[in-house]
Chain length 387, copies 2
């Protein structure tokens, strides 16, 4: 803990929203705040679940973009490493000491392939997804150039409608080409059904995953028939991990949002019809904001707008408050309906953002709090690493 | 121009999307690209307009968050300084050498007020908005503490429904309190009608501005009746600046988006019913993206999703292309409808983002291009400065 715990005592700059040791009430807004107790409980719970079900858990680093959070997931949740979506993110995690890194995405640009092929030199097992046989020669050439080995997952599009092949024949064809190429190794299948994660109903989600699991099982059988070993079958998110874990086909999970929670995920329902943020997972991720104007009696203006969060999945809700509501978001302001005029200028509110991933991506820092005190300030290490 | 113009020649890191001197085709994606010719023409055109109409132009730095762009606006567009929305942004512009900085927003937090009161020490005239008489004593105390002078605009809510007072009585009351306070000076009125800027019809926008102008004129008269000089009347955006410029009431503009343009602003119509991005202003701001998968015949997957842009004001359009359409945006991917299968993996497309301000705010760099070459790489200096 730092001896300096107030901003007034800093001689230069204010480029962090908080200083370890200061009161939570003194955090500068808008700022991302992590409830460390809730975060740790979420991480431990998912880790225990994965262990009990014999699943590896490769946590999704694209959600938090933080080496510190990834290491906490290894330490408390038994995570085997991370997945992420961009080579520039993978560089940050590998430099940060994560030893098993999957780019759960296609890498096609020559410069990016070159960067990817250097990653094993940092000591990280490096895996990348392929959905096009034309990609294999380029990956192999770069790995040979750098004297490294790249592992490959063939990506199956099992319903998300983005990258990935759709037939077992294509999976087998690419896997064969990978194993025939120098400095490449076929290591498994990437099959993440991203499109169903946010469907409210458990039964609707199950129906989509049943289809995905059957498709992946067919691919695994197809590989086996050709004598190709499929070490890892990887996928699963916060809205589906129990399906993959009980499938008998998948052996690696890729959950991300469970650790933080957000408003959009929180709304989906568990098997018993309860919101998953009311029992299954705790809200650990907040956007702290402050009332900066109350010139109209029934509206408070707060300092967190579009530059402090993403509203692609809806507006934030105000944690623990039923009497006030965040109703409008512009570039720099949020409008909070305050029909009874209970809010005061200077008062702080904890927002639960609509979508955690792109909200984390606009901030430079996480402020970790426990028992009303700032315990740590972590960089959002891979913020903006989109290339 | 740097002698190193290819990434392969860099010995360490790839933390920039481009190197000056390289071909535009080699920029790593996703990246923000500025067409320097178009940008300079936009800046010069607005500067000429302001000059011809006797208006000061205080350019809105919250849009681009770039010291380099602000200085270009001073140099080519005769800008008198910047406005911005946050104290942390104002710090960046003042440190960067901008000599006249308005925080066109309320500053209420004690720590932020303290930081604001230090800004004049950097050599910048510092102006802040007030909409609550309770703010005056705090600003005065901080300015006295630091031995500086803060200037104050009283903010009028002339239709945006956010911060600002709504009566001439309140304007006069606050202006008097400011002039009575030590180390503060009342310098004018902030009256930006943000809610009408994006209305499609010129006549609808005019109707809203007519109301705003009448409201502001009443306030100016009210101040004059009390013997209070109102030096500056400041406001106006890309969708309204001609109304303020011809009002006889305003004498300072605050335009931002005109310099870059975006899809949402581009759709609004000028007096003759033409889109403003087809004549009035040029698209100078692009999100360069690359096709990374084309596993389905009629869909290309590109590498710019929610982490590379804000979709609060709609999806981007693809510049100069009628044959393909960006139809879906997820965290890391964009789905481009390609009904005729014309796109190839590796091909790059220039997106015009829906909303320039929050899109700029997720990137670390602007890549300035001219004649197919990268001329400059500018930092998004105040990126993430939301506090």
């Amino acid at each position: 803990m730092n001896a300096q715990t107030k901003f007034e005592e800093l001689e230069v700059g204010y480029d962090v929203p908080a200083i370890p040791g200061m009161d939570e009430a003194d955090i500068q807004t808008p700022a991302l705040v992590l409830d460390l107790d809730a975060l740790e409980r979420n991480i431990k719970k998912m880790g225990d679940y994965a262990k009990a079900h014999g699943m590896r858990h490769r946590v999704h680093g694209k959600m938090h973009k933080s080496v510190n959070v990834a290491k906490l997931q290894e330490e408390l949740g038994g995570a085997v490493g991370v997945c992420c979506q961009k080579v520039s993110e993978a560089e940050v995690f590998a430099r940060g000491g994560i030893k098993d890194v999957l780019v759960s995405n296609q890498v096609r640009d020559p410069q990016k392939i070159d960067r990817l092929a250097r990653l094993p030199k940092l000591g990280a097992r490096t895996i990348v997804c392929v959905d096009d046989i034309d990609n294999v020669a380029d990956l192999s050439a770069a790995a040979q150039k750098h004297g490294t080995e790249l592992e490959v997952f063939v990506e199956i599009d099992c319903g998300a409608g983005r990258c990935g092949v759709t037939t077992t024949e294509a999976v087998v064809e690419i896997a064969k080409a990978v194993n025939a190429a120098e400095n490449l190794k076929f290591s498994g299948i990437q099959a993440y059904q991203g499109a169903m994660q946010h469907m409210d109903s458990y039964e609707d989600r199950k129906a989509k995953l049943d289809i995905a699991i059957a498709q992946v099982a067919d691919a695994v059988e197809g590989l086996k028939a050709e004598g190709i070993e499929c070490d890892l079958v990887s996928g699963g998110g916060t809205g589906s991990y129990y399906f993959e874990s009980n499938s008998g086909v998948y052996n690696e999970l890729q959950c991300g949002s469970y650790a933080f929670m957000d408003a959009d995920y929180g709304r989906i329902l568990d098997k018993d019809g309860n919101r998953i943020d009311q029992g299954e997972w705790e809200n650990a991720f907040f956007l702290l904001t402050q009332v900066m104007s109350h010139a109209k009696a029934d509206k408070a203006i707060v300092d967190a707008g579009l530059k402090a969060q993403s509203v692609d999945s809806g507006l934030p809700f105000i944690f623990g408050r039923e009497d006030v509501e965040y109703i409008k978001c512009s570039d720099e302001h949020g409008v909070v309906a305050d029909p009874n005029g209970v809010l005061k200028v200077g008062e702080k509110l904890k927002l639960v953002p609509g979508h955690c991933d792109p909200t984390a991506n606009v901030h430079d820092w996480y402020v970790g709090v426990r028992n009303g005190k700032v315990e740590t300030v972590w960089p959002v290490s891979a913020r903006g690493k989109a290339y």
